[in-house]
């Protein structure tokens, strides 16, 4: 049981780290601002979700886990809306690279 949990944490964290890496690669390689924005927001949010999922098993009790999930939800919410804002500003600026 304990080993299972540890393995779960390990794989979840590794997957999260990979998503962050993917986000950064997207940020560097993608050709225009909108796709780069898309890369860092979606992928990094998923990465953070996986990291939180991996950490949940390591916190003491339900309250600690709830705190982590709440922080993730806050990031998810604010980041999604802020991305819309940035994308709006970008698209108003017209075509560019």
């Amino acid at each position: 049981m304990r080993l299972g949990l540890e393995l779960f944490t390990f794989f979840s964290l590794s997957a999260g780290a990979l998503f962050f890496l993917a986000g950064t690669i997207g940020l560097i390689r993608f050709p225009d601002a909108l796709t780069r924005l898309h890369a860092i927001t979606k992928v990094d949010n998923l990465g953070l979700g996986l990291v939180v999922l991996g950490l949940v098993t390591r916190t003491d009790g339900a309250v600690g886990a709830l705190r982590l999930v709440t922080i993730w939800l806050l990031v998810q919410l604010s980041s999604a809306i802020v991305t819309q804002l940035v994308a709006g500003a970008l698209s108003q600026q017209g075509p560019h690279r």
Partner: protein
Amino acid sequence: MTILLFTDVCLVLLVLTIGASIVRARDAFEAAIAFAIYGLLLAIVWVRLAAIDVALTEAAIGGGMTGMLLLGAAARLRLAGDDHIRASLRVRLAAGILSALVAAGVAGAVLLPPEVIPTLAPKVMENLASSGLGNPVAGVLFVYRALDTLLEKVVLLLALLGVWSLAPDGAWNGRPAIRLYARLNGTLTFLAQLLPPIGIVVAIYMCWIGAKAPGGAFQGGTILAAMWLLVIVAGLESIPSIGGTWLRIMLVIGPVIFLAIGTAGIVLANAFLAYPAGYAKPLIVAIEVALTLSIAAAPGMLAAGPPQQEQRQ
């Protein structure tokens, strides 16, 4: 802990890179963006220095509020033209040598610690129990060095008076000329409706937890200020005119209650800013709540700038 050491090296390199990009940025606006990022990043540095209270303050004030203030100013001043001029090579060279010498001197002073490290930490911990607080930093701020904290609030008010007094005569009692969001935008409205309730809960949590863990009035108050500014920038509320009674009550309530409790200490505990035995914690919590309100108002108005003639909405 070699992994952490490796992270620290990367962290320091990143901080220096961003710091250099503030200096090298082509215009003041780019520099201001880089500075906001730098402020947020420093929060991680403070975590690594085991100063969680400072990390919270830095993220809130150094990154958020100072960023908002400088970005607004850079955007306003950009209209005044921005021919970027630099000093001549000779001046730059001399400044570079001087700065390098200063940096080397400071590094030498900080890197070579004295034989016996001077610290008041044991004394703080020894006497902390009698105040009923669990957070040593809050203990220093509200018990041992309460005078500093009180005067700091007064400095905030004085700075605000200074900013207001720069207004042209006709604009006195007007509304500050904060930059609103130029383009009407449903997304921002949504964010400004959604984030503040969460922010207020976090602010109350910060203020409450401050007695026993990192957090406190500064951090809680700054969150409230930021949420307030968010609502104003989105155009959902208009910024109060500087003559508003409620605004002025909010601004002074913190220092006034602090001063009142401190003065009462002369009678009840034989010293200015001393708390009567057994009542320290409730009194400190009362002061913190009042200060949170004042800190919500003062930095918000400071970031908004001096009042302007009533023309923009």
